[in-house]
Amino acid sequence: MSSGLLFACVGAILFAMGVAGVVLIAHLLRRILAFNVMGSGAFLILVGLAQRYDFSDPVPQAMVLTGIVVAVAATALALALVRRLHALTGKLELPTDGT
């Protein structure tokens, strides 16, 4: 197994764990972390799968950088919202009634 494929496999596992976390975890902070794990998994796959050729391909690197920026922004927004929710309700979980 080439190192690139290994990266991709690890990425897939991370992504799956991340998705499970986002869907299943109630605690919001951990959910945000799970989202970051998910994102990292996707980036690993992106870089890993592109390593099949002998030369290193710059395009996925550029994409991952952009992706990281997006993920950071999303995380910041999520954290800000969680803080606001905590300040308002004192809880770190979403209300369950769905409204």
Binding site: L28, G39, F43, L49, A74
Partner: protein, 474 residues
């Protein structure tokens, strides 16, 4: 073409710099310019009969960003600007100076529209991912702008749904890049054949699920009603009319673009979206019929109306189905914006967000009620309205392919819509309890609702140009 993206970025940034609650005129001016640009682009594409391309900064793929506009993109751009402009006028009158909820409306709305325009113009899959995130984050910001616990909770729920959706999409993009070494749609399309590797199937599936989650197709709709029902009226209108259409556009774009050979190899695949769409129509309408809060009713109606969009997938063997889809997107875009905006007027006037509180509004707010009725007409698909044309096209295409049950679904959906629309109208016609008083509402609010609703109806009298435009394919 590039100005369609830069202009909203520009006025959004200026609005942010100039301080809380400011930027109304910047936005209206910018949007007017954008509307002109969008029509100009549509004119070029429609008259020339070919797609238009633009390489940003002259770089070109793979490192640069390519923009491209065909009939479908141009149509969606026109829809976006035409809905956003009246909404900006509305929002300008809706938010009082110094109101917390409106503090960051203008910058966020600007970034949202920039994201949408960029999405419709993007020619590569990764760039689309970035625009998806931009749209998603701006939309979440708008939902949270109300600031209450409920809104923040709805925003968070929405945020996780949208992040999960774009995460799945990103993974799909990664797999596509791994398989073919490119993310440009035009390069990718000829490479993919029906013997594509399994990786491509997985990529397509992931992207489809991610985008369906973002489009709130049943059963992924859970995040939509609280987010759209809880936000302030101009925000709900923007989200329901435009944002969910963006991810639908993308599904359609991929379905008839790079993934077309795969879809053709497995015909049963198209029934997935159609069956979910059917369930969305039934479930969304049923929830709308039962809803007690007016905005919840409208939000569930969105869930139902989005279902129609997904009915076209088994019919996509011809261009007529795309036309039906675009007509439905237009009809729903204008009508839903009109409905939310009208609901905003009702809520401001009656001070409560319930269907029951509407009694007697027919006397005090006739224009708004008329707007509500006209929009409702479009949702029900009654003639003469764009919703009717959409329904006509859908039914005729379904008959052409021999899918009778789709015809039945469309017809049943129209009747269900009639139940919830007339539930509201009926309530408004009832005599008001003697002690109710209505707050005064700026006339601008009423008339913008009316304009949006009227456009949704009048489009039903002249759909030739739009259909020709959509016929121009990349």
């Amino acid at each position: 073409m590039i100005w369609l993206i830069l202009l909203p970025l520009l006025w959004a940034s200026l609005a942010f710099i100039s301080g809380e609650g400011r930027g109304k005129w910047l936005a209206i001016g910018g949007l007017s310019g954008q509307t002109w640009l969008a029509f100009d682009l549509a004119q070029t594409v429609g008259a020339g009969g070919v797609a238009v391309e633009h390489l940003v900064g002259g770089w070109g793929a793979p490192l640069g960003i390519d923009l491209a506009a065909d009939g479908l993109s141009a149509a969606m751009l026109v829809l976006t600007q035409c809905v956003a402009l009246p909404l900006a006028v509305y929002a300008g009158a809706y938010y009082k100076r110094g109101e917390v909820a409106g503090a960051y409306f203008w910058p966020l709305a600007g970034f949202l529209i920039a994201g949408l325009n960029a999405l419709f113009l993007s020619a590569d899959l990764f760039n689309i991912y970035v625009t998806l995130e931009l749209v998603g984050l701006a939309a979440v910001g708008l939902v949270a702008a109300g600031g209450g616990a409920q809104q923040v909770a709805a925003a968070l729920r929405y945020l996780f749904a949208t992040l999960l959706g774009s995460g799945l999409y990103l993974l799909g993009v990664a797999l596509v890049y791994g398989g073919y070494g490119t993310v440009s749609i035009s390069v990718l399309t000829p490479l993919v054949t029906s013997e594509a590797p399994r990786l491509m199937w997985i990529a397509g599936g992931l992207m489809l699920i991610g985008l369906m989650l973002k489009t709130a197709l049943w059963p992924f709709h859970f995040w939509l009603p609280p987010a759209h029902g809880g936000a302030p009226a101009p925000v709900s209108a923007l989200l329901s009319a435009l944002v969910v259409k963006a991810s639908f556009y993308l599904v359609l774009r991929l379905w008839i673009g790079p993934f077309a050979p795969l879809v053709a190899a497995a015909e049963w695949l198209a029934w997935g979206p159609a069956v979910l769409g059917t369930l969305a129509i039934l479930w969304g309408s049923w929830q709308a019929i039962r809803a007690e809060r007016l905005k919840m009713l409208i939000a569930y109606s969105t869930v139902a109306q989005l279902g129609y969009l997904f009915l076209i997938f088994p019919l996509l063997t011809g261009a007529d189905a795309v036309q039906a889809g675009v007509m439905q997107a237009f009809a729903h875009g204008f009508a839903k914006a009109g409905l939310f905006v009208a609901a905003g007027v009702f809520i401001k006037a009656t001070g409560q967000d319930t269907v029951a509180g509407l009694a007697g509004t027919v006397d005090r707010l006739p224009i708004t009620l008329f707007a509500f009725g006209l929009s409702g007409m479009t949702l029900m698909g009654l003639p003469p309205s764009s919703g009717f044309l959409a329904k006509w096209l859908l039914i005729e295409t379904a008959l052409d392919r021999g899918y009778w049950w789709l015809v039945l679904v469309v017809l049943a959906g129209g009747l269900l819509a009639a139940v919830y629309v007339f539930r509201v109208l009926r309530q408004a016609f009832l005599q008001a309890p003697a002690n109710t008083s209505l707050a005064a509402v700026p006339r601008t609010l009423e008339w913008t609702a009316f304009v949006l609703a009227a456009v949704s109806v009048l489009l039903g009298l002249r759909g030739v140009e739009l259909m020709q435009l959509v016929g121009v394919m990349r």
